[in-house]
């Protein structure tokens, strides 16, 4: 992506020199100038439905957070005995299903675009870890339901976690611990990873199309420099 030279690259003024705040601002503006952070145009190749699924994933994540927040208002037992609560739980379930579906489509799309090209490996890595953290968040939600499903899943999952030593610290039979991970730690981790992922996308820009192979009858005059694999 092209970007105008931001004003932040100016030498710091006397009052800014030595200021931690000024240093953070200059760094932020240099790496994420407003026109890169919120661009109103994109390269012409950014024209496919596959690009919608990244935004759709974030939209679904917000619906997940809001529906989960409403469930939290009355505590974990509320939805079992209230029609309104049950509907809110249904919103939470279906928003999670959509969130994961959109994320998987987005992920496969980025895989087939080889979207890690051009120093974008960290963008892939933050996205992949976001996916893994989302699986953990959903899993802790399933074992926090306080119904037959959660009882069974917890007693089965403990064997896998215990077999590699994780269960010693991450006890899926401890409802309190699972609920805290589900509503605080893991959503926070997913949120921070998504923010980092989006900032990297904005900083690096959307990856270029892969070059088409030359027609079989022709011999390429000069190979385009590509990653060696």
């Amino acid at each position: 992506m092209t970007a105008a030279q931001p004003a932040a690259t100016k030498p710091p003024t006397d009052s800014e020199a030595g200021s931690w705040t000024g240093w953070v601002r200059r760094r932020a503006l240099r790496n994420f100038p407003p026109e890169e952070l919120l661009p109103d145009s994109q390269p012409v190749y950014v024209a496919s439905w596959i690009y919608v699924f990244g935004v759709a994933t974030i939209a679904a994540f917000i619906v997940v957070l809001v529906s989960g927040g409403v469930l939290a208002l009355r505590g974990p037992v509320w939805w079992h005995g209230s029609d309104v609560g049950h509907y809110v739980n249904s919103l939470h379930l279906w928003s999670v299903e959509l969130f994961m579906a959109f994320m998987v489509i987005h992920l496969w799309g980025k895989f087939f675009m080889a979207a890690w090209r051009g120093r974008r490996a960290m963008t892939w890595i933050t996205g992949a870890i976001s996916f893994l953290a989302s699986i953990g968040t959903a899993f802790t939600g399933y074992v926090s339901q306080q119904n037959l499903d959660s009882q069974w899943i917890a007693t089965q999952a403990k064997d896998g976690l215990n077999s590699v030593g994780i269960g010693a610290y991450f006890n899926v039979l401890d409802f309190g611990q699972m609920l805290m991970w589900h509503i605080v730690l893991l959503p926070l981790a997913v949120g921070l990873l998504v923010v980092a992922h989006v900032l990297l996308v904005r900083h690096r820009g959307v990856v270029r199309p892969l070059p088409l192979p030359p027609p079989k009858a022709e011999v390429p005059a000069q190979a385009t420099p590509r990653e060696a694999s």
Partner: protein, 323 residues
């Protein structure tokens, strides 16, 4: 972060993919796109929730277990007392038995953290709950006094003998157990069954040592040692050999994203291995690391060039370039 990514290697050829795009652009309203996506997803979620609702198969309790499958309950409690239950022989993190750990080759990572959640099945699941109820039953007081006065060896002989007899009895029915020297065990377990049927054991297993509790480790371990919970789960197609971890009760989509993890449990050698959990988790850890590091794995990172899905994604761009 950017510093790491922007290391310059002057000797290498220019990476065209890392260069800023200087070609033509098209208007793209990110905020508008996000707003529309949010509205569409919210409406779609509301519609799905209204039409399909969500499952909530009621939790089971120790009391339900004792009332619905009392023979299974008593047999399970007997194995907790003589130390042969699944939990009593589990190893880390519940009991001290390094030989019980699952292994990945020569490694037993299950043992590495040690016993972090100690469970003494005889005392935690049977004796201590009975002590709490002993004041209302002279028979139970007497039985517990006899149990405590006996040596550990004698206690084990009584419990093991009763376990053996109960296993051989028709339908594992305590009323049909052959006569033998079981000491106070039949009285103790009969009283435990009565306590469980009233719901007293649910509370007793949870409230050991504290008023507020959120940790259900002990009641869940006890419940899982019997066959009652598994029977309920299998009726909901949640068994391990039914792709259970990724299913939901009823006909609802569950954690479909766990398909690969669940898949390994359905195929050999995992499906027949005593170390299945450790092997599947070990394999999934390797695959997970590979997934995160796809950009650096030769061959894997070139798959997108070999499977031309990208031609579909960028077909408009390629068409415009050809003109």
């Amino acid at each position: 972060m950017t510093g790491l990514l922007e290391r310059r290697h002057s000797a290498k050829p220019v990476d065209i993919d890392a260069q800023p795009w200087t070609g033509p652009k098209r208007p793209y309203d990110l905020v508008k796109e996000f707003t529309i996506a949010l509205v569409v997803v919210a409406v779609l979620t509301a519609a799905l929730a209204a039409v399909f609702s969500s499952p909530d198969e009621k939790q089971t309790t120790i009391a339900q277990w004792a009332n619905s499958a009392s023979n299974d309950f008593v047999l399970t409690a007997t194995t907790e007392l003589d130390g042969t239950s699944g939990t009593a022989t589990y190893g880390a993190p519940y009991t001290h038995d390094p030989s019980a750990a699952q292994k990945i080759g020569p490694l037993a990572p299950q043992n590495w953290p040690g016993v972090t959640t100690p469970v003494d099945t005889a005392n935690d699941f049977v004796i201590r709950p009975l002590e709490g109820a002993a004041s209302v039953s002279p028979d139970l007081q007497s039985a517990l006094a006899t149990w405590k006065a006996a040596t550990a060896d004698q206690q084990q002989k009584w419990a093991a003998a009763y376990d053996d007899a109960l296993s051989k009895a028709p339908d594992n029915d305590p009323a049909k157990v052959a006569s033998g020297d079981y000491g106070p065990v039949p009285v103790m377990l009969g009283q435990l069954l009565n306590l469980a049927k009233t719901g007293g054991l649910d509370g007793a297993l949870l409230s050991q040592g504290a008023f507020y509790q959120t940790n259900y480790t002990k009641p869940l371990l006890f419940l899982a040692d019997g066959t009652y919970l598994e029977d309920l789960a299998r009726a909901q197609h949640l068994g391990g050999d039914q792709w259970g971890m990724m299913n939901e009760t009823g006909n609802y989509p569950g954690q479909a994203w766990l398909w690969l993890y669940t898949f390994w449990y359905q195929v050999k050698p995992f499906s027949t291995s005593g170390n299945a959990d450790a092997l599947v988790w070990g394999l999934m850890m390797v695959l997970t690391l590979a997934f995160v590091l796809v950009p650096f794995i030769p061959g894997v990172r070139s798959i997108p060039k070999l499977i031309p899905v990208y031609r579909l994604i960028w077909r408009d761009y390629y068409r415009s370039q050809a003109q």
